[in-house]
């Protein structure tokens, strides 16, 4: 009974039934720095994650010295 979150190849597991926002808080990832994609669709912070969901987190921050 889990939801899987994947960020840069790293997997995190959280309990189903939480919102994306709460799940991100659990794994200590700032919502501002990722975009969540489930089954090829972007989902927002109020989305409830269900058992078996696999959510890909796309990192948005980039950049070295300008």
């Amino acid at each position: 009974m889990t939801v899987k979150l994947v960020l840069r190849g790293k997997e995190y597991e959280v309990k189903p039934g939480m919102t994306l926002l709460d799940s991100l808080k659990k794994i200590d990832v700032l919502p501002e720095s990722v975009i969540a994609v489930r089954d090829g669709e972007m989902i927002l912070e109020d989305e409830i994650l269900k058992d078996g969901d696999v959510v890909k987190l796309v990192a948005v921050i980039s950049g070295g010295a300008q």
């Binding site: 700032l30 919502p31 501002e32 720095s33 975009i35 994609v37 669709e41 972007m42 927002l44 912070e45 109020d46 796309v58 948005v60 921050i61 980039s62 950049g63 070295g64 010295a65 300008q66």
Partner: protein, 308 residues
């Protein structure tokens, strides 16, 4: 969350604008906003020729895509930096840039630093002993010089880069921490043309990095996701994370930081340093403006690594 325009399920939520949009309406909204910024900051008109600096990353490819959708005459410039580090970073970013140009029927100029000057960026950096372990200082000098050179030689009116709001806010944050008045004075959406150098513009400077990523993903643009290997642990990334923490608690804080800076600058906050901010000399070798008498830092560097 529902799209404000049509009520369908929203794909993007922009808390700083209190605006949520579905895929279709977000993809419509971004070019409309970009066109608005281009006009507001008087970046360029439809009759001007624009050279877009493309790196293969999400921001520059999206910028090129947006300008193309808006009907501007925008060609691309890709600089081959020769960064590999066992990851093929430059090769892959070049492949994605060429692929994008081909798919959209756009004109792309490619300049390979090694083919032109004999050394790739990491080697140039090692030979000149600049910037400790990171070639970023050398990379910055080369990129700026080459973009100026190509824009001038090929007669472009405007050089456009894909800097987003997070890029601008993090640079602003760094310059504010050290109160670099000359840099603060010159930072903005537009750097006017002078001394034969094209005008420089940043049409995406008011979009959050998250929005640009959403744009690239929703448009199906294939961009290089892996970072330049030398960017790991950079100050830029550190500042962006700090600002995002602030943004998280206070939506809109990042945008306000930048926009209020532009307003303060407009009102003359940094004007006293105006005189010293303008480059006063021209490099006798390449003709580009420089702050000091004699050759510019790019030409001095190239001279240093040329075999005697």
């Amino acid at each position: 969350m529902k799209c404000r325009t049509c009520g369908a399920k929203a794909a993007v939520n922009m808390r700083q604008h209190k605006l949520a949009l579905c895929k279709q309406h977000f993809l419509d909204w971004v070019p409309i906003q970009t066109a608005r910024f281009i006009k507001k900051y008087r970046m360029f008109g439809p009759e001007e020729r624009v050279l877009v600096a493309v790196s293969g990353g999400k921001d520059s490819l999206s910028l090129w895509d947006i300008l193309h959708r808006l009907g501007y005459q925008a060609d691309g410039l890709y600089l081959g930096l020769g960064i590999d580090e066992g990851l093929g970073y430059s090769d892959e970013s070049r492949r994605l840039t060429e692929q994008f140009a081909r798919q959209h029927g756009l004109k792309l100029h490619i300049v390979d630093v090694q083919a032109t000057y004999g050394y790739d960026i990491p080697t140039l950096s090692a030979l000149t002993h600049r910037g400790q372990n990171r070639p970023c200082a050398v990379c910055g000098v080369v990129k700026r010089h080459e973009m100026n050179r190509i824009a001038r030689d090929l007669g472009y009116d405007v050089l456009a880069t894909g800097h987003n709001l997070d890029d601008e806010a993090s640079v602003l944050f760094g310059n504010t921490l050290s109160w670099q008045a000359e840099f603060l004075l010159r930072q903005g959406p537009v750097l006017p043309a002078h001394d034969g150098l094209a005008r420089k513009v940043k049409p995406l400077c008011r979009f959050y990095e998250k929005e640009m990523t959403a744009y690239a993903l929703l448009r199906g643009i294939e961009y290089i996701y892996e970072e330049c290997p030398f960017s790991a642990g950079s100050t830029t990334i550190y500042y962006k994370e700090l600002l995002n923490r602030l943004e998280n608690d206070r939506p809109g804080a990042k945008l306000a930081f930048y926009l209020k800076f532009l307003e303060a600058r407009e009102n003359g906050l940094f004007r006293s340093s105006l005189d010293s901010s303008q480059p006063m000399y021209n490099c006798p070798s390449c003709g580009q403006p420089t702050q000091y008498e004699g050759k510019c830092s790019f030409c001095r560097m190239i001279e240093k690594v040329q075999p005697a």
